[in-house]
C-alpha cells in the first residue's frame, strides 16, 4: 500500500485531506510542521507527500527542496498546497521541485484524482 504523508499546520485541513483519502487504499500519515514531517519522512518513507506551503519553522518550499535534493527522497511525489494565489507560488513550487501544486480552497476530489494518477 502506498504511503501518503499529509503535512499541514491546520488540523482541519489535515482532517479534510485524510477524510478525502481515507477510503482509498493508502496508508495515511500526518505531520503538523516541517520538522516533524522531515523526521517522519526518514522513518516511514512515504511515496507521496501532500505539503502545505505556509507553515511555521521549515516552510513547505524548504522542505520540498530539501527532499528533492536528497537522492534518497528525490523520488517522493510532492504535491504542494498553498493559500496564496499568485503566479510566483507556482513558480516557486516548480523551483522547489514540487511535482504538483494546488491552491486552497481545493477540491478534495481533484486532489484524490491527482494522487491516484501519480500512484
Amino acid at each position: 500500500m502506498a504511503k501518503i504523508l499529509i503535512v499541514d499546520d491546520e488540523p482541519a485541513i489535515r482532517f479534510l485531506i485524510s477524510s478525502a483519502l481515507e477510503d482509498e487504499s493508502y496508508e495515511l500519515f500526518e505531520a503538523a510542521d516541517g520538522k516533524e514531517a522531515y523526521d517522519l519522512v526518514g522513518s516511514i518513507k512515504p511515496d507521496l507527500i501532500i505539503l502545505d506551503v505556509m507553515m511555521p519553522g521549515l516552510t513547505g518550499y524548504e522542505l520540498c527542496a530539501k527532499l528533492k535534493q536528497n537522492p534518497a527522497t528525490q523520488s517522493i511525489i510532492i504535491i504542494m498546497l498553498t493559500a496564496k494565489g499568485q503566479e510566483q507560488d507556482k513558480l516557486q513550487s516548480r523551483q522547489a521541485g514540487a511535482d504538483h501544486y494546488l491552491r486552497k480552497p481545493f477540491s478534495p476530489m481533484e486532489l484524490l484524482s491527482i494522487i491516484n494518477t501519480y500512484m
Binding site: 491546520e10 482541519a12 482532517f15 477524510s19 493559500a83 494565489g85 486552497k104
Partner: protein
C-alpha cells in the same frame, strides 16, 4: 633834477675843468693883468724912469741953465731953462700922473721935486750973481739930487716894490692859483667824491643790493641819494627786485602752490599708496575670502553631496574643526523626543562621558541650542577644557554653534587651545558654516526620515502584503475546509457519523472564517474611524457568561471559570463590541494554552468609575520583550512554542483599539511559560463616546462631570492632591503624574477629557513642550488643556492653544469652574433644550462668537437646539471679556 651820471661827471668834470680853466684863465688873466699891470707898471716905471731920466736931464739942464744964466745972464739960457723947466714940469706932471698910486714917490715929487722946480723957477731970475743962491742952489741941487736919487730909488723901490708886489702877486696868484687848483682839485675830488659819493653810495647800495640779490636776497633799495642813472639803475634794480620779489612771491606762491600741490600729490600719493595697500589688502582679503568661499563651497558641496548621516556628521565635524583650527570639539545631535543633545562625535575632550547627553537647560551647549544663538566664550568659562601639555588647564576659547534650520538640529562645540577668543569675524564665519551644516544635516535627516518613512512604508507594505498573505491564507484555510468537506459530503456520501463530523467542521470553520473577516474589517474600520458605537446599559457579567458559553463549546481541553463581583452596576457601553473583545481574549486564551487548563474570567469594580474584566489563562504566557508590542497590529510572538498556533496578529490590536474607543483601557500581565492575564477596564459612564459620533446625534452632553477623566500634570504632590480632591468631589475622575514623558504616555493611552498642566516640571520637558507635543499629535490635539502656573503667561498660553490659564494660587472652585467651562465647550456640542424661536441661530451664534467661540453647526431638533462648536478655535477668557 635828474642828472645822468654822465652829466654829473661831465658836469663835474666840466665844472672842475671850467673852474680850473676859469681859475687858470682867471689866473692867467690876472697874471696877465698883473703882468700887464706889472708891465704897465714896469712901463710906467720905465716911463717914469725915462721921465725921471728926462726929468733929471731937464733938471740938470735947468740947473745948468740957471747956473749958466746966472753965470752968464744969457736969456737963451733962461729960455733953455724955461724950456727945461717946462719939460721937467711936464715930465713931472707925467710922472705924477704915473705915480698916483705911489704916494711916497708922489710925496717926494710933491715934497721935493716939485718944490725944487718951483725953487728953481723962483730963483732963476734972482740968482744972478747971488752966491748964496748959488750955494743954496748947490745945496738944493744936492738935495734935489738926493731927492732925485731918492726919487729914483723910490721909483726903483716902488718899481721893485711894485714889481715885487707884482711878482709876489703873481707868485701869490700862482700860489693861489695853484692852491685853488689844488683846492679845486681837492674840491673836485671832494665834489667828485661827493658827486659820486651818493652815486657810489647808491652804487654800493645797489651793489649790495645786487650782491645780496645774487645770494638770493632780494631787497628793495630804499633811499637813494642820487637821482641819476644810478637812481635809474636803482629804480630798475628796485623794479627788478620788485619784479624779482613779485616773481619770487609769485614763485614762492607757485612754490608754495607747488609745494602744496606736491604735498597734495604726496598726500594723494600716500593716499594712493594707502589705497593701493588697501586694495592689496582687499585683494588679499578677497583672495582669502575667495579661498574661504571656495573652501566653503567645496565644503558645502561635499556636505550637500553627502547624504548619509554618519558620513555627513563626520565630514561636517572635521570640516568645521579645520576651519576653526580647533583641537577640541564635540558634535551633538538634538533628539527632539527626549529633548536632549546627544554627542555623536568628539575630539580632544577630557571627560567625554560628562558631555554625552546634554539637556537644553544645562550647560553652554544646551544654552546655545535653546537660544539658537552662537555662544562664544573664552577661558576659563568653557566646558570643553582640556589639559595642556604641561598638565595645567590650557587656554581654550570655545564656541558653541547651534545647528538650526527651521528647528534645532544639533550643536557643535569647538575649543581652540592657545587662542584667547573667537573674533566676531570668526564667529560669523563659523556661524555661517554651521548654518551650512545645519542645512545639510536637515537634508540628511529629512532624507533619513524619508528613507525611514519609505522603509516604514515598505515595512508596512511588507506587513500589509504579509498580512494579506496571511489573511488570504487564514481566510482560505477555513474556506478550504468548508469547501472541501462540503464536496466530500456531496460526492462521497459518507455515513451519518462522518457526515456529522464533516458538518460540524464546516460549521466551526465558517464561524472562524466569519470571525476572521469581522476582525479584519473591524480593524480597518477602526483605522478609518468608521466604527459605529451604540451605547446601551450593559450587564457585564451576563455578557461574560454568554461569551464564555460560546467559547466553552469550542474547546474540550479547557475549563472556564467566571468570577463576578456582586452588585456591579450596569455600564454604558456597546455590548457587541465588548463581546467582540471578550471573544478575542477568550479565543486567545484557548489558543495559547494548547495543553488546556483553566481559563478564569473575573469581573470586578476597579475604581469608583470603572469596571474591570480579567481573562486569565495558564498557557504559554508572553515573553517579557514581546509584551510592549502585544497590542500592536500584526504583531505576533514568534516563538517555537507557538509556531503552530498561527493567527493574524490582529486580535489584540482590535481589542486595544476597541476598548479605547469605548473609553476604557486594556492591559496584560504575563509570565512566559506560566500564563497571561488580560484585563480591560470600562468606564461606567462613558460620555467620550460622543467623540466618535457624527453630528446630528440626539443626545446632549451633560454639563455634569459624568465620569470624565482629567489628567493632572503637576510636580508638587500637595498641589496635585488638592486639585485631584477638588475635581473628584466635583465628580471628575482624575489621574495624576508629575513628569512630562509619563504625562504624554498617560494622555495618549487614556485620552482624558481635559488636562491640567503645570508649566514647570522636572525632566526633559516643561509644560510648554508637553502642550506643543499634545497639540501636534492629532489624537491628542483636541484635548483641552488648562495651564496652571505660578507665572502669568496667559496670553502666550492661550495663543499656543491652551483652553484656559489659571495663575497659582487659585481656589478649587476656580479650578472646577474652569474644567466645567472647558469641558462644556470642549465637548463641542451644546444642547439648548426648551423654547425654540424661529430665528434663534443668529443671536446664539453672535452671543457665542462674542464669548470667543466659533459655531460650526446648529442643528434644530424638535425640543432641542444642538450647537456644534469648533474646538480648535476656542479661546476662553479672552482679554475682551473677563
Amino acid at each position: 633834477m635828474k642828472l645822468k651820471i654822465q652829466t654829473k661827471i661831465s658836469l663835474g668834470f666840466f665844472s672842475v675843468i671850467t673852474a680850473m680853466a676859469l681859475l687858470i684863465i682867471g689866473g692867467q688873466i690876472y697874471t696877465n693883468i698883473i703882468t700887464t699891470q706889472a708891465r704897465t707898471a714896469a712901463n710906467r716905471y720905465s716911463d717914469a724912469v725915462n721921465l725921471d731920466a728926462k726929468l733929471i736931464v731937464e733938471i740938470r739942464s735947468a740947473e745948468t741953465a740957471v747956473k749958466d744964466f746966472w753965470a752968464e745972464g744969457d736969456n737963451l739960457r733962461l729960455v733953455a731953462f724955461r724950456n727945461s723947466l717946462q719939460k721937467s714940469r711936464r715930465y713931472l706932471g707925467q710922472l705924477k700922473e704915473l705915480l698916483t698910486k705911489d704916494t711916497k714917490a708922489a710925496a717926494i715929487i710933491n715934497d721935493s721935486i716939485e718944490p725944487y722946480l718951483d725953487y728953481l723957477d723962483s730963483v732963476v731970475s734972482k740968482g744972478k750973481g747971488n752966491q748964496q743962491l748959488t750955494k743954496n742952489l748947490r745945496r738944493r741941487i744936492n738935495s734935489s739930487i738926493k731927492a732925485e736919487s731918492l726919487f729914483f730909488d723910490q721909483l726903483g723901490a716902488m718899481n721893485s716894490q711894485t714889481m715885487n708886489s707884482y711878482i709876489n702877486l703873481s707868485r701869490r696868484i700862482f700860489k693861489i692859483t695853484f692852491m685853488l687848483i689844488l683846492a679845486i682839485a681837492l674840491l673836485s675830488i671832494i665834489v667828485g667824491h661827493l658827486i659820486t659819493k651818493s652815486t657810489t653810495a647808491s652804487l654800493r647800495i645797489l651793489t649790495k643790493g645786487i650782491r645780496s640779490a645774487s645770494t638770493g636776497k632780494y631787497v628793495l633799495i630804499e633811499e637813494i641819494q642820487t637821482s641819476d642813472e644810478v637812481k635809474d639803475l636803482v629804480i630798475a634794480f628796485n623794479h627788478l627786485v620788485t619784479t624779482v620779489q613779485t616773481n619770487e612771491t609769485v614763485l614762492q606762491h607757485k612754490n608754495e602752490e607747488l609745494q602744496a600741490q606736491d604735498e597734495e600729490l604726496t598726500a594723494q600719493n600716500e593716499e594712493i599708496l594707502a589705497q593701493q595697500e588697501e586694495l592689496q589688502q582687499a585683494i588679499a582679503s578677497l583672495t582669502k575670502h575667495e579661498e574661504l568661499l571656495s573652501g566653503l563651497y567645496k565644503f558645502s558641496q561635499t556636505l550637500t553631496q553627502t547624504i548619509e548621516l554618519d558620513d555627513l556628521m563626520e565630514i561636517a565635524f572635521n570640516g568645521i574643526l579645520n576651519e576653526a583650527e580647533a583641537q577640541i570639539g564635540a558634535f551633538f545631535l538634538y533628539n527632539s523626543e527626549s529633548g536632549m543633545l546627544e554627542m555623536k562625535n568628539r575630539i580632544g575632550l577630557l571627560h567625554p562621558e560628562k558631555l554625552s547627553n546634554i539637556s537644553l537647560n544645562n550647560s553652554l551647549t544646551g544654552r546655545a541650542g535653546l537660544q539658537k544663538k552662537v555662544l562664544a566664550v573664552s577661558f576659563p568659562e568653557g566646558q570643553l577644557r582640556s589639559i595642556g601639555l604641561r598638565g595645567e588647564l590650557a587656554m581654550a576659547s570655545e564656541i558653541y554653534l547651534p545647528l538650526f534650520h527651521g528647528e534645532l538640529l544639533g550643536v557643535i562645540a569647538l575649543g581652540c587651545t592657545g587662542k584667547k577668543e573667537f573674533s566676531v569675524e570668526e564667529q560669523k564665519r563659523l556661524s555661517s558654516l554651521a548654518d551650512q551644516i545645519a542645512v545639510a544635516l536637515h537634508n540628511s535627516l529629512a532624507h533619513l526620515e524619508i528613507r525611514r518613512s519609505l522603509e516604514r512604508i515598505q515595512e508596512v507594505d511588507q506587513l500589509k502584503s504579509e498580512l494579506i498573505n496571511t489573511v488570504s491564507h487564514e481566510l482560505r484555510t477555513p474556506l478550504a475546509s468548508i469547501y472541501g468537506f462540503a464536496e466530500l459530503l456531496l460526492q462521497k456520501h459518507p455515513g451519518e457519523t462522518k457526515a456529522q463530523k464533516y458538518i460540524t467542521t464546516i460549521y466551526n470553520e465558517s464561524l472562524r472564517l466569519s470571525g476572521l473577516i469581522n476582525n479584519f474589517l473591524d480593524l480597518q474600520r477602526i483605522e478609518n474611524r468608521h466604527l459605529e458605537i451604540n451605547t446601551t446599559l450593559v450587564d457585564l457579567c451576563a455578557l461574560v457568561k454568554s461569551s464564555v458559553e460560546i467559547y466553552q463549546g469550542q474547546s474540550s481541553l479547557h475549563d472556564f471559570k467566571i468570577n463576578c463581583e456582586p452588585d456591579l452596576p450596569q455600564i454604558n457601553t456597546d455590548s457587541d463590541r465588548v463581546a467582540q473583545v471578550l471573544g478575542n481574549l477568550l479565543s486567545n486564551a484557548i489558543k495559547y494554552s494548547p495543553a488546556g487548563g483553566l481559563i478564569e474570567i473575573t469581573v470586578y469594580r476597579s475604581s469608583v468609575k470603572e469596571v474591570a474584566v480579567a481573562v486569565k489563562d495558564h498557557g504559554l504566557g508572553i515573553p517579557a520583550d514581546a509584551i510592549p508590542n502585544i497590542f500592536h497590529p500584526f504583531f505576533r510572538v514568534d516563538n517555537s512554542d507557538r509556531r503552530q498556533i498561527g493567527g493574524t496578529g490582529l486580535g489584540l490590536a482590535i481589542c486595544h483599539k476597541m476598548i479605547r474607543v469605548l473609553g476604557g483601557d486594556i492591559g496584560v500581565r504575563s509570565e512566559h511559560g506560566k500564563g497571561s492575564v488580560f484585563t480591560f477596564l470600562l468606564p461606567i459612564n462613558n460620555a467620550s463616546a460622543i467623540r466618535e459620533r457624527t453630528a446630528g446625534g440626539e443626545e446632549t452632553t451633560a454639563t455634569s462631570p459624568g465620569d470624565k477623566l482629567i489628567v493632572v500634570v503637576e510636580d508638587d504632590p500637595a498641589m496635585a492632591e488638592l486639585m485631584e480632591e477638588s475635581l473628584n468631589s466635583a465628580g471628575y475622575r482624575t489621574q495624576f503624574t508629575d513628569n512630562g514623558p509619563e504625562a504624554l504616555a498617560l494622555i495618549e493611552r487614556q485620552s482624558p477629557e481635559a488636562i491640567i498642566l503645570d508649566l514647570i516640571l522636572p525632566g526633559p520637558y516643561d509644560g510648554w513642550e508637553i502642550m506643543r507635543r499634545l497639540k501636534k499629535d492629532k489624537s491628542t490635539a483636541d484635548i483641552p488643556i488648562i495651564i496652571s502656573s505660578s507665572l502669568d503667561q496667559k496670553r502666550q498660553g492661550l495663543e499656543l492653544g491652551a483652553a484656559d490659564y489659571l495663575v497659582k494660587p487659585f481656589s478649587s472652585n476656580k479650578l472646577v469652574e474652569s474644567v466645567n467651562k472647558v469641558l462644556t465647550i470642549a465637548s463641542g456640542v451644546i444642547g439648548l433644550p426648551g423654547q425654540r424661536r424661529p430665528d434663534i441661530e443668529g443671536p446664539i451664534t453672535d452671543l457665542l462668537k462674542a464669548k470667543g467661540f466659533v459655531v460650526k453647526e446648529i442643528i434644530k431638533e424638535p425640543d432641542l437646539l444642538v450647537v456644534v462648536l469648533d474646538n480648535s478655535a476656542v479661546h476662553i477668557g479672552s482679554e475682551s471679556n473677563k
